[in-house]
Amino acid sequence: MWDLHHIADLPGGSTQLFVGLHLIHEVTSPQAFSALKEKGLSVFCPERTVATVDHIVPTTNQERPFADPLAEEMLSTLERNCFEQGITLHGLHSGKQGIVHVIAPELGLTQPGMTIACGDSHTSTHGAFGAIAFGIGTSQVRDVLATQSLSMKKLKVRRIWVNGKLTEGVYAKDLILHVIKTLGVKAGVGYAYEFGGPGISALSMEERMTVCNMAIEGGARCGYINPDFETFSYLHGTTHSPKGEEWEKAKQWWSNLASEPDAIYDDEVVFDATNIAPTVTWGITPGQGISIEELIPTPDSMDPTDRQIALEAYKYMDLEPGTPIQGSSIDVCFIGSCTNGRLSDLHAAANVVKGRKVANGVKAFVVPGSEAVAKAAKEQGLDNVFRTAGFEWREPGCSMCLAMNPDKLEGRQISASSSNRNFKGRQGSASGRTLLMSPAMVAAAAITGRVTDVRDLITYNPENKRNTE
């Protein structure tokens, strides 16, 4: 696949790599467009770049102009740039707007065998389709706009093999949080993470996207999963997927892309999905996670290299080492983001919420990942399930995943969040605290007001079985 996109060798051992799909949004593109103009260049393949707006959009009132003049300026700059350069923009109320990593797969823009780049680190998400997908910086956005290619070094590949299947109440989010807490947040530097094995094949495409989405939190620039029948049935009939005879040929090509069973990897690790319990983070990096049954680790139980950041984490989070995470009280519950803002995520959470009420004093809200997710959820009555329980139902966007819009933690508030980063200050308050967990676990926290094992709230119901999307 790499060779197919190889254009030339560059000084310094890098490759000039053709980019099959370039995704842009309002935050990392304006400076790239300006730089392009400065160099007197125009966009080389405007039809291979697709834009949307997600990071700064308000999720309550989306009337233009936005109340925040800076947000308004960013969106109008994107609109102007796309218009001038002939780039398709899936804007607000187009029916196709949403978080960039949610809409591209939904529209069938993401396909196996492609190279995909976007000025956003969670571009690793698209690797779930058997694409080489990675985040890039603004100067590379400029390069892709100018030449539809960029300078890139070949990555090493670590195969993460997952045996067994996830048990009831345990989700793809738990799986990836478990992998990251085991391998650490630096282990992936220089690597692509290829996920495989029965535990991965059993996952739906939406779950696979959750896994690849967070590969970057383990330090790996790309996540990757071989395309299979599940991949093809997800793509079949989407707006941009091939049709008719072409579909058959495409499937044939895609099937041949899968890595050989006896391929040699730079490194291999094995996990067993059966042993994984709901997992939550207690600290300030996505690697500081524990299973819901465990106690917050004590410094002497850790590798010395992890100790310093752990000490910082206890202090910032105000959590005691050696105590359970279960039962910690929660102020805000956020369901959304490119990790867990898809329809199956909302289903999993709605299952927990149904017939229950949000605990007193807890602010809980749902931000669908895209207009399409919101529409489907409404058609299935999920918005009402959430509203009746006391959740707020919002318009699509990134929202409190990084809090560039008005959705923010206040002061020392602590959130249960289905997003991907628990860094200090990530959710909009310099002292705000974040516990990462699956959407079902966030829903459970909303109901009890505390960190709760969601398995205590769901009764086994084959009809409600983990997403069948």
Partner: protein, 209 residues
């Protein structure tokens, strides 16, 4: 003083100036430049907001607040510096604050690449050496330093202190030969690119199968 307005250009072989130590592993790009400052359509004003939240919280205890020199060109960090979001705002903010080179134990990949694309070398050394450098830099705030990419070392101007450093061969070559700005090279290959476009199955209705 003049370093602050002149961004890296052409050959990057040495970086000279004051050095500043910033301790801690896993310092992410959200901390380098908090997300609220990403609301901008130019990078121009980012320099003043570098480490905004940490600086507010730690006041004089944050090295970036405790200015002994007017500008610092060389930043000494620990492990996995620049992890998290791919925002180029992070190296841009550091560059606009004055930083022209970073020495550390290890760097997150996208951050490393973003720095390289700006002509800012990220060089490494062993954990113990880095700690030594940090201590020495802190104890000698008025010392002038020189990072030499050709000779692969970092030393004080008065030659009292000296440490070898590592840098990836390819990055080193690009910096010292002035090839770190990739755009020009990429543009030159547009011809080959067009040829390639005709062969990629997904751009040609999967015809070539």
């Amino acid at each position: 003083m003049e370093t602050i307005s002149v961004f890296p250009k052409g050959l990057v072989q040495t970086v000279q100036g004051s050095a500043i130590a910033l301790r801690g592993d896993d310092i992410d790009t959200d901390r380098i430049i908090p997300a609220r400052y990403l609301k901008c359509v130019t990078f121009e004003h980012l320099g003043g907001h570098v480490f905004a939240d940490d600086r507010k919280e730690l006041r004089d205890k944050h090295p970036f607040n405790n200015n002994k020199s007017l500008t610092y060109s060389i930043l000494i960090v620990n492990g996995n510096f620049g992890c998290g979001s791919s925002r180029e705002h992070a190296p841009q903010a550091l560059m606009r604050w004055g930083i022209r080179a970073i020495i550390g134990e290890s760097f997150a990949e996208i951050f490393y690449g973003n720095c390289l694309a700006l002509g800012i070398p990220c060089v490494t050394s062993a954990s113990e050496t880095i700690k030594q450098i940090q201590e020495t830099v802190e104890l000698n705030p008025f010392q002038e330093w020189k990072l030499d990419l050709c000779k692969k070392n970092f030393k004080s101007k008065d030659d009292i202190y000296f440490w070898p450093i590592n840098i990836e061969d390819s990055s080193r070559e690009m910096l010292i030969e002035g090839n770190w700005d990739a755009t020009a090279k990429l543009v030159a290959n547009k011809g080959i690119l067009k040829e390639k476009l005709k062969k990629l199955p997904y751009l040609n209705n999967f015809k070539s199968i």
